[in-house]
């Protein structure tokens, strides 16, 4: 098989394994949906004082989409790669003629496809709750998604270097992301966060990605593609890529 065909081959099996893994399906697919439903029901009819005032549901659609995209990319990659590494599955794969980049490309492809699927799913559910799908913004949404997804993939792969064992994977990933979701206005609308919280969150890529995604998705937002936010997200991604190239390991840390 040529390189690209091999990536497709790897991707097919990564997809199978993803959909059969109850933890992946729950945390990456079900959890964002449930979270959106809860928030949409609890805050239904309320107005969020952002960008001149928008409906809470309209606020939470891009918010939970951002979370779902980060979960499908950074979180999924960090967790599954550490598990595969500690299982010795990465090491076994390195003993075959498959080029290492093919393996990574298959996994990244899997993450981006799941992220796209979550975008469609949440857009459809959001529409049921009255958050119109901004069809005219589709190019901006896709550009934002691809830059964000690629950057968070790099960060997820880099993060594996800081995770020593399978048991530590979920704890480390969640300890990083959950506070950032709160501080970035993903769970609590930003007009209700104390001053200074958002400027602190601005130090991290989650906030910039959410901001960019919000701009792309909500017509009341600024310009469709928020290049300044995306540039910061991409810089994080490049830093992640460099760290990943330097520190990613294929052999188990333990034993």
């Amino acid at each position: 098989m040529t390189g690209l065909a091999l990536v497709g081959h790897q991707f097919r099996y990564d997809q199978k394994a993803f959909w059969r893994n109850p933890a992946s399906v729950f945390f990456t697919v079900m959890f964002p949906v449930i979270l959106f439903l809860i928030l949409a029901v609890v805050f239904s009819g309320e107005e969020v004082n952002v960008r001149g005032g928008i409906d809470a549901t309209t606020y939470y659609v891009p918010a939970i989409m951002s979370l779902a995209i980060i979960s499908a990319t950074m979180q999924t990659l960090a967790m599954t790669l550490v598990i595969a590494r500690e299982d010795g599955r990465l090491k076994r794969g390195r003993g075959t003629p498959m080029p290492p980049w093919v393996f990574i490309a298959g996994r990244v492809g899997n993450s981006i496809v799941v992220a796209l699927m979550m975008l469609v799913l949440l857009a459809a559910i959001g529409a049921l709750f009255g958050a119109d799908v901004p069809w005219g913004r589709l190019p901006a949404i896709l550009i934002t998604l691809v830059i964000g997804a690629a950057s968070f993939c790099c960060l997820g792969i880099a993060l594996t270097a800081a995770i020593p064992s399978q048991d530590a994977a979920a704890a480390i990933v969640n300890a990083m992301l959950l506070p950032l979701y709160f501080l970035s206005g993903v769970f609590i609308p930003e007009d209700q966060l104390p001053d200074g919280v958002i400027s602190f969150a601005d130090l991290f890529p989650v906030r910039h990605f959410f901001d960019a995604f919000f701009d792309a998705y909500v017509p009341a937002g600024g310009s469709a593609v928020s290049w300044d936010n995306l540039a910061i997200v991409a810089l994080w991604g490049v830093a992640g890529l460099l760290l990943a190239i330097r520190y990613f390991r294929w052999t188990p840390r333990s034993g």
Binding site: Y13, A17, A84, D87, K91, R94, G95, P97, M98
Partner: protein, 277 residues
């Protein structure tokens, strides 16, 4: 050959022939895995020359990997793929793989072909591991302690699979700490202890090594008599002739030669001065 600051193995000189099962035998911590990982290209050596299928594993590339198969000492499988899918996935990595169905048959997992790997027993998982190393149709397979921790029937099944590799014309480099495994499977055995080679030969040669002394035991007047002799026929004849002449029975008469296990234990025993690490 070393890693960290301790030299794990040194002066190892191995010569494996095409089409044979070569056993690299030694106790835990003797340096088997270090050696095999150098041969597989996973580990860099600090010195010496290594040629595997005509190439230096440290520099060998994709073409070389088409020709080898590796079963790691500890490696789990993707729990969400079936036996067949695991083999198909690996088959896709190679240019000219064996048909998956054939491999399923060779590893004796026909009835489990569509089960997820998480539903297999430890022995079945290990056989699938061998199948994944075999599916690329390599010339040379490395098996690092393929039966450690198995119950006797699982070991026997694994042995049948490994013996079958020879019939396929594969060369097998097997590491093990079980003497009986080497004896059962290998054409030639090299024994390593504390990073150094202590013996080599066919299983039969090794059994005959240091077996010059035969032990004869019997009881006479309630006392156990042990005679060690290099000429057992002569000694036994004299003993029995004397017993016949005096009408005495040699109670509990036993003539033994050291078993392979005895030879192995003696060869790999830690020196008492503790200089080996």
């Amino acid at each position: 050959m070393s890693y960290g600051s301790t030299e794990a193995v040194r002066g190892i000189d191995l010569d494996v022939h095409r089409g044979e099962i070569f056993a690299f035998l030694g106790p835990n911590g003797a340096g088997k895995t270090t050696t095999v990982e150098i041969l597989e290209g996973y580990r860099k050596r600090s010195g010496g020359e290594v040629s595997v299928l005509g190439e230096d594993p440290q520099r060998a590339g994709r073409e070389w990997r088409e020709r080898i198969g590796i079963v790691l000492q500890s490696g789990r499988l993707d729990p969400y793929l079936t036996v067949r899918e695991s083999l198909d996935l690996y088959a896709g990595y190679f240019r000219a793989p064996l048909p998956t169905a054939d491999v399923v048959g060779l590893i004796g997992l026909e009835e489990k072909a569509d089960e997820r790997t998480s539903r297999l027993s430890g022995g079945q998982q290990r056989r699938l591991d061998v199948g994944m190393a075999l599916v690329g149709d390599p010339e040379l397979l490395f098996l690092d302690e393929p039966t450690t921790g198995f119950d006797p029937s699982a070991r026997r099944q694994a042995w049948d699979v490994i013996a079958g590799l020879r019939d396929l014309g594969k060369t097998v480099f097997l590491t093990t700490h079980y003497m009986d495994e080497a004896q059962r499977l290998a054409d030639r055995v090299t024994i390593i202890a504390a990073g150094q080679i202590v013996a080599r030969g066919t299983p039969r040669d090794l059994g005959e090594r240091e077996s010059a002394e035969t032990t004869i035991r019997y009881r006479s007047g309630g006392e156990e008599i042990v005679v060690r002799t290099g000429t057992p026929v002569q000694t036994l004849h004299e003993l029995t002739a004397a017993a016949l002449a005096s009408g005495e029975e040699l109670e509990g008469l036993e003539v033994t030669r050291p078993s392979l296990e005895d030879v192995y234990l003696e060869l790999t025993a830690e020196p008492t001065d503790g200089s080996a690490g």
